[in-house]
Symmetry: C2
Subunit: 338 residues, 2 copies
DNA sequence: CTGAAAGCGCTTACAG
DNA sequence: CTGAAAGCGCTTACAG
């Protein structure tokens, strides 16, 4: 493989001149610039990334830390990964994907060894063990998801409280007075999935304010348990007219449960989910839903991170916590109660 | 961040001794070894990855090239990515994930710049434009999926021909004489998805040999089209007693279609799918299926790649093409025809 | 068993 | 506008 030295020799200039001609970081006579460009082209010169990283302390790589849990409904994760990866590439960065079970250790490894210029944390927990590591790390980070302590990183998340209120308000306005809310399984809360209780608590409170009866339960994340649960709930609360789903697996299972029970949506039951448009397409879910916007969140996280990485002034700006407002996408699955 | 020089100074030895003490690559007195280890620990020393890569020409990073297509059923991809990532980490490698639309260009970029020691290609097409780039690249590669020309890389795939035969034979043995095979959409074939016609052609031929009528059609990849297609086919071939699915979206859509038609499986219809165990769990598919084994394939690809990367003898061994034998996982969805 | 030195391939002040 | 040189942080022959 050709080095900058080969290019310089071929162009008849010094290595520094070749470097400057290629980077454009100082004035170069047009003639020399062309000779260097031509030599680089002819030799198919590509800078050695390691050497450049060593010289500049920049790798043009971002770490992406994804956590996987056995008991979790996986299809949602891919969209965040794609959003982060695509946005990063647009900005000139590659992605080092880390799926190690011990996220804290992995984070330390890739930042301490200077493999990455910054880091995006996915699937963040309320008291995420990666956070102290990130705060002590020599590289900045951003998270998708809201931890209890947001110091030392930029945070991006859906406004789950508002999402809960929007769900309740929407059905209340249509005249519903008894609703069921199925959240993620309780162990997701124990693991630190704050978005579960954030939506739930806000929905419960809003329901109380509106005089709406809300049966808030924790769900399951797998079939057939989640299907059974849906049936049990519909049996237990026959007078409930609306179903709120902060649980992807439950949403994916609902169509077949509804069909089996001969339950028409929205005539017999109004339904609002919380997932992404892409998820709805994959599972062909015919329900109105709060868009969880993984693409927007992933993209925002990367853009902010890159800004912090690249600008010396941005590096020391205060950290931000940014919420996306929930958008209710109508698919016609809500109506005046029966 | 501490450098090897800092460690050496703290331990009162030269940098080379510190390096050797840490790597164990030459004999070191136990006392010095301990002093160096202690100094490294105290200073939280982590080698700079770029510097090490420059000195050793090894990055300990593997590239993972994933292609995404708009018209594709995405959930399957994640399992390959996880398998590759987890296996790589086990072997001491990190993963550079590239999702760029222009895969050939991306491949050239990461290999020419020496960002990676080797490369895994996912979602490979029959005449994949990344292949010539890989053959010319200074780094070895492995693919999951079988291209037309396997020269210059290691290839791993499910034996889709055998899968087609196993499906037909299984139902033939039970007494079925008329079957429907739903493949991926035809545009997947046009794009170079050879596994589609590999399974299809083998199934067609085996059916002919066995005297079985096989209606082989291309499917859809999205709802609601795929649901409509299922209904149309079941209407068109009412005497067919078995359904073979080489199409994830169709498999995911079948339960609700069957329920809507009051169709019992396997009493009225025997069904065999082709997907992974994980996919079956996610969509709670109650059908017997040929395991597509993304974890095994991803893991094999990485192991072979790493062997080639690390061993000078393996580097020049002939390239391999390895097929996984299809395993029929019984879920009780096949029976003697009605 | 240990050290001084060269070299990996870049970038960027320093000097002219 | 251009070049010679230093330096980024490692590893590894070379020498003793």
């Amino acid at each position: 493989m050709a080095t900058i030295g080969d290019v310089a020799r071929a162009a008849g200039v010094s290595r520094s001149t070749a470097s400057y001609a290629l980077s454009g970081k100082r004035a170069i006579s047009e003639e020399v610039r062309q000779r260097v460009a031509e030599a680089a082209r002819a030799l198919a010169y590509t800078p050695n990334a390691g050497a450049r990283a060593l010289a500049t302390s920049q790798t043009m790589v971002l770490g992406l830390l994804a956590q996987f849990y056995e008991d979790e409904f996986a299809p949602a994760m891919m969209q965040y990964i794609r959003a982060v990866s695509d946005t990063a590439r647009t900005l000139g960065y590659d992605i080092l994907l880390v799926t190690e079970a011990d996220g804290a250790r992995a984070l330390r490894r890739i930042t301490d060894s200077r493999m990455v210029d910054g880091v995006v944390l996915l699937n963040i927990a309320e008291h995420d063990e990666r956070l102290p590591v990130l705060r002590a790390a020599p590289r900045p980070g951003a998270s998708v998801g809201l931890p209890a302590d947001c110091s030392g990183l930029d945070v991006f998340d859906l406004d789950f409280e508002e999402a809960g209120r929007v769900m309740v308000d929407h059905l209340h306005r249509l005249g519903h007075r008894e609703l069921i809310l199925i959240s993620q399984p309780e162990h997701v809360v124990h693991r630190g999935g704050a978005y579960v209780w954030r939506l739930r608590d806000a929905a419960v409170q809003r329901a109380r304010e509106r005089g709406v009866t809300l049966h808030a339960v924790y769900g399951e994340s797998r079939q057939p348990a989640v299907g059974r649960l849906l049936n049990t709930l519909l049996d237990t609360y026959p007078s409930a007219t609306g179903l709120l789903l902060n649980n992807e697996a439950a949403a994916a299972a609902l169509p077949s449960v509804a069909r089996a029970r001969g339950l028409r949506v929205p005539e017999d039951l109004s339904v609002i989910g919380r997932y992404s448009d892409d998820f709805a397409a994959t599972f062909s879910l015919p329900y109105s839903f709060i868009e969880s916007a993984p693409d927007r969140l992933g993209s925002m996280a990367v853009r902010h991170l890159v800004r912090r990485v690249e600008s010396t002034t941005a590096r020391d700006e205060p950290y931000v916590v940014r919420f996306i407002s929930p958008e209710l996408v109508s698919r016609g699955s809500t109506a005046v109660p029966r």
